[in-house]
């Protein structure tokens, strides 16, 4: 596949599509409507291309992209599973896609009902009392949850709790969110089995007595390991006056099997773009609703969907609510997909999903642990983390392995996360992969392990068959080029492209 120019390098002055409606009102002089000082001086230098050019360009770009529909995508912690097509269909229905958030409740009964029911489904799945659907993604759920915890402590006059405990294996959004909520973070060590080091936890609880606002955890954690001491941990944190936050990015392992609420968590976010299989869209949109235990309900953002004699309506937040965390009601069309997914699978289906996710992960883990170091060698849940340490000794890194995987038409695992594993390869196959695909991945990983021993240059120079070779990240960061410069557009587009391509 040859290089695809930028859209700005295509087209010619004056090219355009006819995508506007008729201008059917009498036209008034521009200056009469808009005094000169408010007018834009020069039009934005957007592309000047015809419709066929737009279509071919973005079709070509799509051909230069890889999604779950194209192949295996075992990106750990990201739960890249099959995104059912029916969800795309329902989310495209005009009665969902083309409705105004501020239209009156009587004109949006179906939307409110859907959200009302979805809230209850998520509450049931997580074992929480109520749920806000506002957060746009996991990280947004985290900060929302932490603000609720903050409001809770404040409401009790418990105003010195400014510390959030976070295990060392946690996702980066957890500490970042804590900072955002003005908390200090204290890192908790993991024990040898990959769980929270309870001794260390106790130590920290003692050290910061009266100052612990919360513990943020994901369980199964980012090693794919279920922390068996969760009840004890919860008890300890609660006893110390702290709240328990559950990062539900890994909930694909537990649906119908166990619930954060039952483990003792007070706040939970779910990544619907993971567990509920709403597509990740190349980086978003997602949805990160949070559920809370009963004592935190008054602090939830509002409004919340409600049902009364007159039908469904939006209930304003009460006096203790933190307020809203974004405009409108959440990533509604993502929520429609999640609703569709839950209704399609039902209770047994959701449990079967989680069980199958766990089985697939264990199957891969058992098969790969002879060729790669498995630092925590125990039954995993939906994912597991290998280390490329042995390969590193041969001079190839997790990055090299990842790049080599690309040559086999597969996306590589997440690498260098969690931070507590050297040269981490974090593998999450998900439940929607066939046995054949798992076996193929095993074969690829074994071959790569062999190559690392016998022909490491194959890895070091990888990828070989992708549309571009290994890209220079350092250069990108050192001399950031974040935006095509209109001023170099003066020349003939083709020439400019050449220049651009070799600078």
């Amino acid at each position: 596949m040859s290089v695809e120019k930028l859209i700005f390098e295509k087209g010619a002055p004056g090219r355009h599509s006819d995508v506007l409606p008729a201008m059917d009102v009498p036209e008034q002089p521009l200056d009469d409507l808009l005094p000169a000082e408010f007018q834009r001086a020069t039009p934005a230098a957007l592309p000047e291309v015809s419709e066929i050019e737009v279509v071919r360009h973005y079709t070509h770009l799509s051909q230069r992209n890889f999604g779950v529909d194209v192949g295996f995508y075992p990106l750990g912690s990201c739960t890249m599973k099959y995104n059912p097509k029916i969800n795309e269909e329902t989310a495209s229905m005009p009665g969902f896609a083309r409705i105004h958030p501020l239209a009156s409740e009587s004109m949006t009964q179906g939307a409110i009902q859907l959200l009302y029911e979805l809230e209850r489904y998520i509450a049931e799945i997580t074992g929480m009392q109520r749920v806000t659907l506002q957060p746009a993604a996991g990280a947004h759920g985290e900060i929302t949850g932490l603000m609720i915890i903050k409001a809770y402590h404040e409401s009790r006059g418990d105003i010195h709790r400014d510390i959030v405990l976070i295990p060392d294996g946690a996702h980066g959004t957890n500490p970042a969110s804590a900072t955002l909520a003005n908390y200090q973070t204290v890192e908790l060590k993991s024990d040898k089995r990959g769980g929270v080091d309870v001794a260390h936890l106790k130590e920290m609880l003692a050290k910061y007595e009266g100052k612990i606002a919360a513990l943020m955890m994901t369980n199964p954690n980012t090693l794919g390991v279920f922390d068996e001491r969760i009840v004890e941990i919860a008890q300890l944190v609660h006893d110390a006056g702290g709240q328990l936050y559950y990062d539900g990015a890994n909930a694909n392992a537990i649906m119908g099997i166990t619930r954060p609420g039952d483990m003792g968590f007070d706040v939970v976010h779910l990544n619907l773009h993971k567990t509920m299989s709403t597509p990740h869209g190349g980086g978003g949109p997602g949805a990160g609703p949070i559920g809370v235990a009963k004592h935190l309900v008054p602090f939830l953002p509002g409004p919340l969907p409600a049902h009364g004699r007159e039908g469904y309506y939006w209930q304003d937040a009460g006096p203790q609510s933190i307020g809203r965390v974004r405009a409108n009601f959440g990533n509604f069309l993502v929520l429609v997909r999640a609703y569709t997914y839950i209704r399609s699978n039902g209770p047994d289906g959701l449990r079967h999903i989680s069980e199958s996710a766990v089985l697939n992960a264990n199957y891969l883990m058992q098969a790969l642990k002879s060729d790669y170091l498995l630092p925590y060698d125990r039954t995993c849940m939906h994912e597991f983390v290998l280390s490329a340490d042995r390969q590193k000794a041969l001079g190839v890194s997790a990055l090299d392995i990842a790049k080599r995987i690309l040559d086999f038409g597969m996306y590589p695992p997440t690498i260098y996360f969690p931070l507590i594993v050297h040269e981490a390869l974090m593998i999450e196959p998900t439940e929607t992969e066939t046995l054949e695909t798992l076996d193929e991945f095993i074969a690829v990983m074994r071959q790569i392990a062999r190559e690392a021993r016998e022909e490491p240059s194959l890895l070091l120079d990888a990828p070989h068959v992708t549309v571009v070779g290994r890209l220079d990240q350092t250069l990108a960061a050192r001399k950031p080029d974040l935006c095509w410069r209109p001023d170099v557009r003066a020349g003939r587009p083709a020439e400019v492209a050449e220049t651009a391509n070799t600078r």
Binding site: T90, P347, T434, L475
Partner: protein, 451 residues
């Protein structure tokens, strides 16, 4: 269960392979006391056609914009979406991909985002733009947090003409992060310059003004900029209606420091308000303080141009608690939609679209102003939204419009009781003259001025 491909027989074989006798063996680490001992209390699974019926029934209880001409804006705008936009951005290589961590297999999305960043810079006349944030309201939050900086302290001045939902959102974050918000009042439906001047103190980190503002009115941005930059505060311009940038002067032209906008107008379905598209642009020198993903151009080991996520040391997965923001998942797919939208309209089309909005909105305003009892609430120039005082309670008018399958304007008193009975109408290029006339006639009938 339909999406799990492997059969019971296959799963049994796999269990044998891992040395387990049943899935239960694998779940053993989960203590009994936290196990759910009953099935989830959810409705039973439905086959695909039954799900489709169910969802269609829900969808059809909503007033969709194809069947209910809407004169409601207030943050969400009904612009025409060219047919190519959904047909391209819904290609599954795009929508079923993750954040492009492995750039070699994700060049399509990366290049599109690079184009997106460029287009946002073009629209706003700013120097750098990021790969998107959640929506306009959280983009304003991020801009504010960036202005406030790592300390999290200080004061931020915000115009009362900023979208009420945005102000509400900002308030929560201000409380949590620990900075102070000062609201500046209005004069003739725009930010009061005198009040602004008074509100700014040496501690002011940023001034936030929406433009066009919530009432559709154009602010005196040059004056505001002067006042703002007279102190060391940053000027944050919030935009909810980026279509306006086709005809009104962009933030770069009046020296804005940060632009935080809602990009739904640019090719995304309104979707009951979400997913929306947070646009974020700033000056080059501030880029290392900016939130969110950034795509940069680079070269590969074969000398070819390629695109990667870059300047990641600002981000949570590297910098953790010292990151510029906690954002991870953003709104890439909508950024892609906006890119395709802007490419489709193009230089001419985008300008023409904005001019249609301007013309149609003014035509509508003039027509409604002819109806006894309706009069413009403010006298400032506007783009595609305008506030009108109404002769009857706004809710009553809207209810009557609803009966005629028309979505009326925003009831200003919901957030601005000081203006009494008033409606904020929006008229984009998508409204036809006939629809405007239907609205006007309905208003005449409702208020009893029809002959």
């Amino acid at each position: 269960m339909s999406y799990v491909p492997n059969t019971v027989a296959e799963q049994e074989a796999m269990l044998r392979e891992v040395g387990a006798t049943s899935i239960e063996d694998l779940l053993a680490p989960i203590p009994a006391e936290v196990r759910l001992k009953r099935p989830l209390d959810l409705p039973p699974a439905l086959g695909e056609p039954d799900v489709r019926r169910l969802l269609m029934a829900l969808a059809e209880q909503n007033a969709d914009l194809d069947h209910y001409p809407s004169f409601l804006g207030a943050g969400s705008y009904d612009h025409v979406i060219p047919s190519v936009v959904p047909q391209l951005f819904k290609r599954s290589e795009f929508y079923t991909s993750y954040t492009p961590y492995q750039p070699e297999l994700s060049q399509g999305m990366l290049q599109a985002i690079y184009e997106f960043q460029t287009m946002v810079c073009e629209l706003t006349e700013m120097e750098v733009a990021n790969a998107s944030l959640y929506d306009g309201s959280t983009s304003v939050v991020e801009a504010t947090l960036m202005a406030v900086g790592p300390s999290g302290r200080g004061e931020v001045v915000v115009s009362r003409a900023l979208d009420p939902q945005y102000r509400a959102t900002l308030k929560v974050y201000a409380w949590a992060r620990g900075f102070t918000l000062r609201e500046v009042g209005l004069e003739d439906g725009a930010t009061s310059l005198t009040a602004l001047q008074e509100a700014i103190t040496p501690d002011t980190k940023a001034v936030i003004v929406q433009h066009p503002n919530f009432f559709g009115s154009l602010e005196d941005m040059r004056a505001i900029e002067k006042v703002t930059h007279a102190s060391k505060a940053l000027l944050i311009v919030a935009i909810t209606e980026p279509a306006s940038l086709g005809v009104i002067a962009p933030p770069g032209a009046y020296n804005a420091d940060i632009v935080a906008a809602e990009g739904q107008s640019l090719g995304s379905p309104m979707g009951y308000g979400g997913p929306a598209l947070g646009l974020f642009a700033t000056r080059s020198e501030l880029v290392r303080r900016a939130p969110g993903r950034l795509v940069g151009k680079t070269v590969d080991n074969r000398g070819q141009t390629g695109y990667v996520l870059t300047l990641q040391t600002r981000e949570q997965h590297i910098r953790r608690e010292r990151a510029t923001s906690n954002i991870c998942t953003n709104q890439s797919l909508l950024a892609l939609a906006a890119t395709i939208y802007l490419a489709s309209l193009g230089k001419q089309g985008f300008q023409a679209m904005a001019r249609q909005c301007l013309q149609k909105a003014h035509h509508a305003q003039q027509r409604i102003a002819e109806i006894p009892g309706f009069s413009p609430l403010f006298s400032r120039p506007f783009f595609d939204e305008f506030a009108m005082a109404t002769p009857l309670p706004a809710e009553q008018i809207n209810a009557a419009l609803r009966d005629r399958s028309i979505i009326g304007g925003y009831e200003l008193a919901r957030d601005y009781p000081e203006f009494g009975d008033a409606l904020l109408f929006c008229v984009t290029e998508h409204r036809t003259r006939d629809e405007i006339e239907t609205l006007a006639t309905a208003l005449e009938e409702i208020t009893g001025s029809a002959e």
